[in-house]
Amino acid sequence: MSQYNSGSDSEHCNERTSLMEVQVDVRSGVGEAVTTQRVSRSSGRRSQQIQESTPGGAEGREAGDGGEDHGIRHREDEEEEDTEMTLKYGAKHVIMLFAPVSLCMAVVVATISSITFYTEKNGYLIYTPFHEEGASTASKVGDSLANAAIMVGVILVMTVFLVILYKYRCYKFIHGWLILSSLMLLFLFAYIYLGEVLQAYNIPCDYITLAIVMWNFGAVGMVCIHWKGPLLLQQAYLIVISALMALVFIKYLPDWTTWFILGAISLYDLVAVLCPKGPLKVLVETAQERNEPIFPALIYSSTMMWFVGMADSDPEAKKKKKKKKKRRAEGDAQAAAPAGAVGGEEEGGFGPDWNESRGFQPTRRPNRGGNASDASVNSEDARQAAQNLSNGRLSPSGNQQQQQQQMEEDEDEEERGVKLGLGDFIFYSVLVGKASSNGDWNTTLACFVAILIGLCLTLLLLAIFKKALPALPISITFGLIFNFATANLVTPFTDALASQQVYV
């Protein structure tokens, strides 16, 4: 899932975004033996759904004029400018996604090419009981299909379970689950990774140093991911855990199964997001109804949530606000619109949706994101404050002026950002890592470019259709096509050319 955080800046831009998150859980067993340790990694398969950003009101562009009569004229101009702003900020958002995705893939590829541990087959997960030991292609295909079906089935069950938990508000259970899974990733998998790196480079290290390093790494990671921390550190940790998860998949899944699973997950994502009764859609809609973020600890965010000061007269209103907007039912938007339309023109950059989001979706998000429980505690306060502000808007111009100035100050500090689900990082990295495990750099490069182009295309489709779309299918499809085409067709050609030093 990727979402656009709208913030306003001096460009007076607004976005309405629909949040669609895909939540898929994976329980991974580690090690050769069948383990009974069921630590679920609910972030494991967060498919990406692009949260569309359709800018809402751009009335702010005509800032300076008050009065309702401008509202209608502004709306037409709005839409044009909205599209521009969408596209303009779309390019920036694409790059904000390119960088972490590329980094994660680079980490995985670097590890695979230098540390042989992750390409050795030393046992498999309990979710893939068929180990492709048959000699014939047919038996391998059969095994892989069975494995992929089991995996997707497990994921489906986990997702439904999670949706049920979420619907019945068992937040503590979910948070415990998430904490347990990130504990496992940050401590166990990172320890194994560190051990393998030290082994590969023949670096001796005593247990005491190792314990101190691991403790610090893991503890800071837990704090950063689940609570607060510097943004860059959070992003780095999320990239690290995505890479670790991808490496685990590359190691513990049989070869053909990996490819089939990638295909199956893309299909699952497509179905689960676009079908009306898909678990993911239900999850997202429930979250939207409650105006809560969905498991914010498992989303990569590219921007800080800045303070948004509300009216001076209301000290409670000075809370950090989440910039993410959710596009809810049309009714909500329209309900908020009248209240916002007037205010929008005043404040030079905020439209009805911004107000709506402030009214309906205020959560305390110190950095990248807090927890749902945090959100629910503070949402009431913030909602109250937002109401005060909205009411303040409709009051005489004096107040509005004051608030507008306040707003504009803060607008400059706010930034746009984008969020991406960790599952997408993981699956992109699995694809590229698997492609690179053959040792052929042409294939790796081709997959890398294909995935990035898929991401671009998905965002473009999003801007065209203005509907939440899953991003995993397009990138993975491109990646798969290019992987097999490059490995089988292109590489012999380029090898022949390079060995003869012929350049095309």
Binding site: E84, L87, A91, I453, V490, D495, V502, Y503
Partner: protein, 244 residues
């Protein structure tokens, strides 16, 4: 084959292109996207040419056949990306705050060309570079020991050539100046076929670089450069001001 050689060849091959990327493209999100689009289109052209090469298996050993058709496919895809970028031009115009100028078209052509070139260079050399870090002795069987060096030099040449060819090609298509387009296709074919002359490998580098210089000059002229501009740049004069 040492690590030194690996790094040396990497920097020779990708240094100029990387510098171009860092200074002109890295800060602009839109240009990065166009760059990746250029990479993608070159990849597609390579895919098609590989498919053809694999299909026509009797001629698999005759690299000339593969090369000729690869060049043709690349030019066809250059035309496709030209079409795509011109169509998207309107949309792209809305991104920039400045009014549209002619140089925007050239910028887009340049960026796409760099994408083409980078991908072409990457695919030519990256496997060779990976082998360069491993064990072995180059030319132990009597071949030239300068395999890596010449490969890196040719790669660098080709990356830059693709960039300039793209600028000329887009200009030619815009102004319906088909000699320019023919120039690009013709010289591409010429250089690629030159590289087919295997035993004379070092001797193909000099003509290639000469053609690079010529193409660079033509491209520079087309985007509005002139000798005066060049001298002003070199002597650090500002436009409209005389130096002291």
């Amino acid at each position: 084959m040492t690590v030194k050689e690996f790094f040396g060849c990497t920097f020779i091959a990708y240094g100029p292109a990387f510098a171009l990327f860092i200074f002109t493209i890295a800060r602009e999100p839109l240009r990065i996207i166009i760059l990746i689009a250029g990479c993608f289109f070159w990849l597609l052209s390579l895919l098609f040419s590989s498919v053809l090469w694999n299909i026509v298996w009797p001629l698999k050993d005759q690299l000339a056949f593969g090369v000729v058709f690869s060049v043709l496919f690349q030019e066809i895809f250059r035309f496709f990306i030209y079409k795509l970028l011109r169509k998207a031009d309107e949309g792209l115009q809305t991104f920039s705050d400045e009014p549209p100028t002619a140089s925007d078209k050239h910028t887009i052509a340049y960026v796409a060309g760099l994408g083409f070139g980078l991908m072409s260079g990457a695919f030519s050399l990256v496997n060779v570079l990976a082998m360069a870090t491993g064990p072995g002795t180059v030319g132990i069987n009597g071949d030239t020991p300068y395999f890596f060096l010449t490969s890196a030099l040719m790669t660098s040449c080709f990356i830059l050539l693709h960039t300039f060819w793209n600028v000329i090609f887009f200009w030619g298509c815009d102004k319906r100046n088909f000699p320019a387009v023919g120039f690009v296709v013709g010289f591409h074919m010429l250089i690629s076929c030159l590289t087919l002359i295997r035993p004379l490998q070092p001797a193909t580098i000099i003509p290639a670089y000469c053609i690079l210089l010529v193409t660079m000059a033509i491209a520079y002229k087309l985007v509005g450069g002139s000798v005066n501009n060049l001298m002003a740049f070199l002597t650090c004069k500002r436009a409209g001001y005389a130096s002291n």
